[in-house]
Amino acid sequence: MNRAPAPGNMSKMQAAQQEMEAVSDMYNKMVETCFKKCVGAKHSESDLNSAEETCLDRCVEKYVEAHNKVGQVMAGTR
């Protein structure tokens, strides 16, 4: 009577974990990159101004677009 998860389920969980770690890693890199590109290192204000907000929104959109594009190039389907 083996109570351990069946191999199929085990790998399903591991695959889910790896997918989540990959999304989280991608997200963290995006946050850092967009903060650096849009907000900079001055910190004379504690609020984002509207130029920074627009920049952050576009940065996220472009980052996801770039992420998808890299996959296409790697798959040779550019």
Partner: protein
């Protein structure tokens, strides 16, 4: 998210525990990155002890700005992901 589809109850429970652990570990690392960034941006003078009267409020503003920035980035990311999934037809 559709990650946990097709799992047994036991596996889902284990998966949720794992998920929770990852979130804690993620937020601890985020905290450390935040400290590193704001220290780097705000503290450059080591001629005296303790955070100076210029460095102290700089760190406060940096943290507040960073948190607002993460919030905005996260909201936009969810929006873009939802639009993508809608476009992919599921």
């Amino acid at each position: 998210m559709a990650f946990a589809g097709g799992m047994s109850m036991d596996d889902q429970r284990a998966f949720n525990a794992l998920l929770e652990q990852m979130q804690i570990s993620d937020s601890l690392k985020m905290y450390n990155r935040l400290v590193e960034r704001c220290f780097n941006d705000c503290v450059n003078d080591f001629s005296s002890n303790g955070l100076s009267r210029k460095e102290n409020p700089c760190i406060t503003r940096c943290v507040e700005k960073y948190l607002k920035s993460t919030q905005r980035t996260g909201a936009k990311f969810s929006e873009v992901q939802a639009a993508q999934q809608a476009a992919a037809g599921r």
